[in-house]
Amino acid sequence: MTVLGIEGTAWNLSASLVDDDEVLCEASSAYIPASGGIHPREAAQHVANNIAGVIRQVLSSTDPRLIEGVAFSQGPGLGPCLRIVGTAARALSLRLGVPLVGVNHCIAHIEVGRWKTDLVDPIVLYVSGANSQVLSYWQQRYRILGETLDIGIGNCLDKFARSAGLPHPGGPKVERLAQESRNYLPMPYVVKGMDFSFSGIVTAATEALKSASLEEICYSFQETAFSMLVEVSERALSQMDKSDLLLAGGVGANARLQEMLSVMCAQRGARFYAPKTEYLQDNGAMIAHTGLLMLRHGIQTAIASSGANPSFRPDEVEVLWIETH
């Protein structure tokens, strides 16, 4: 089966063509804000201006008659972006005369990770700009075992970076600066069961700018926030009695976070997997691949129910494509 997928929830507009085995083609156009963070209206304008181009690029790589389905990111994400992506997907599905399928963005991150690492039933740590969750598959759904009680880890990093005068996206810059210090400043460490909170770290780090070096703050920020994420991942492995951990989402590209997760897994005899950075970040292939899995299991989205769903939660989706034991 060959499916075309379109991702456009926030910063990276991306279209891709996949079949059962591999990614056949991908074209992307990233929105880079001139200043500040992601502005929803500007992000939507970026999608509107570039969506025809990325789709055309993917279509030109193949005979369009071979495409058997059109998948799109239905949510969660920025409403103005999602609506344009939905409109393009509906038009394309009608034009090609093939089924339409709306994909949950979080689940697409997990599915592309499972695809690229050959994992069946891992605990998933999903960390991106807006999302931070620990999930586990159980009885036809990805259950959210724990999540942030306020902001996502990526937004937490970006928010602090902005107040420190670092350009967007702040995460990679904080990561680089953190490597320059080994001086730890205590920061709020908030874990409640498997839930966690990051807003206190942003406040503490921003306050610390008055008295400490940026390198020290970045180092302490990462060590504190990531320790919280690793702690809840370990608790999830223990609670669900699983032995594989999959990392998903753009913040997963952080080398220090990967190192900490890998050390935690080694210490408890679990296995740690992270797909390549291109599949951690938002990408069209993850939408196309998840759409393919859904279509293979008879799931389609009628035009009438294909509207954008900005607060689409992963546990709303019935997952029919996983067979455990």
Binding site: G75, P76, G77, L78, A130, N131, Q133, S136, W138, Q139, R143, I144, L145, G146, E147, T148, L149, D150, I151, G152, Y184, P186, Y189, V191, K192, G193, M194, D195, E223, T224, S227, V230, E231, E234, R235, L237, S238, Q239, E259, M260, L261, V263, M264, Q267, R268, G269, P310, S311, F312, R313
Partner: protein, 186 residues
């Protein structure tokens, strides 16, 4: 294998030792382990004094606590509406004592001689706020929902147990719903 500590059985005692975590820098790791051990011991004995079934403490040092061994299955393996109702009553008693458990999962409760014992006060704190109590109940609901398909009935039973002695059960439920909605996406 537990996530945070090594628990060893020594006759009628349980020794809970917080082991170093190699993934965390030593400074943060030592601080967290020492603070959590000290606080856990204090809160656990305060909870017991307030009538919440918990193991009796026998000895404490920097990173380990020795306590009475409670015989019985974790409530996750014997869950029923009656058990869920008892959990509600026990959590209400704990909250009334000004304590939130912090990790009230179904694995941190043991059914022994017909009573629900709360164990593992490692993430507990003194907190009387509706917010903290709501998070406690939210954590419990999450583990229940993720592991038991009788969730709706068990949730009702829990709330009935909670409401028996805590008149603010309706407020707590409202808070739990608010916390659930707060999980951010944008």
């Amino acid at each position: 294998m537990g996530a945070e500590a090594v628990v060893a059985l020594r006759g009628h005692s349980v020794v809970k030792k917080r082991i170093p975590k190699d993934y965390r820098i030593a400074e943060l790791d030592t601080k967290l382990r020492r603070e959590r051990t000290r606080l856990e011991a204090k809160i656990q004995s305060d909870a017991r004094r307030a009538g919440v079934p918990t193991p009796i403490l026998k000895a404490i040092d920097s990173f380990s606590i020795t306590m009475e061994r409670i015989e019985g299955p974790p409530v996750s393996s014997v869950m029923s509406e009656a058990v869920a109702e008892d959990i509600g009553a026990v959590l209400c008693a704990l909250h009334s004592a000004g304590i939130v458990h912090g990790d009230p999962t179904t694995r941190n409760m043991i059914l022994s001689a017909g009573r629900v014992y709360m164990i593992d006060f490692g993430l507990s704190s003194y907190d009387r706020s509706l917010e903290a109590r709501g998070v406690d109940v939210h954590v419990f609901f999450q583990t229940l929902q993720a592991t038991d398909d009788r969730f709706p009935a068990l949730k009702d039973a829990f709330l009935a147990g909670y409401a028996r002695n805590c008149s603010n059960a309706a407020l707590i439920l409202e808070k739990v719903n608010e916390i659930k909605e707060r999980g951010r996406y944008l």
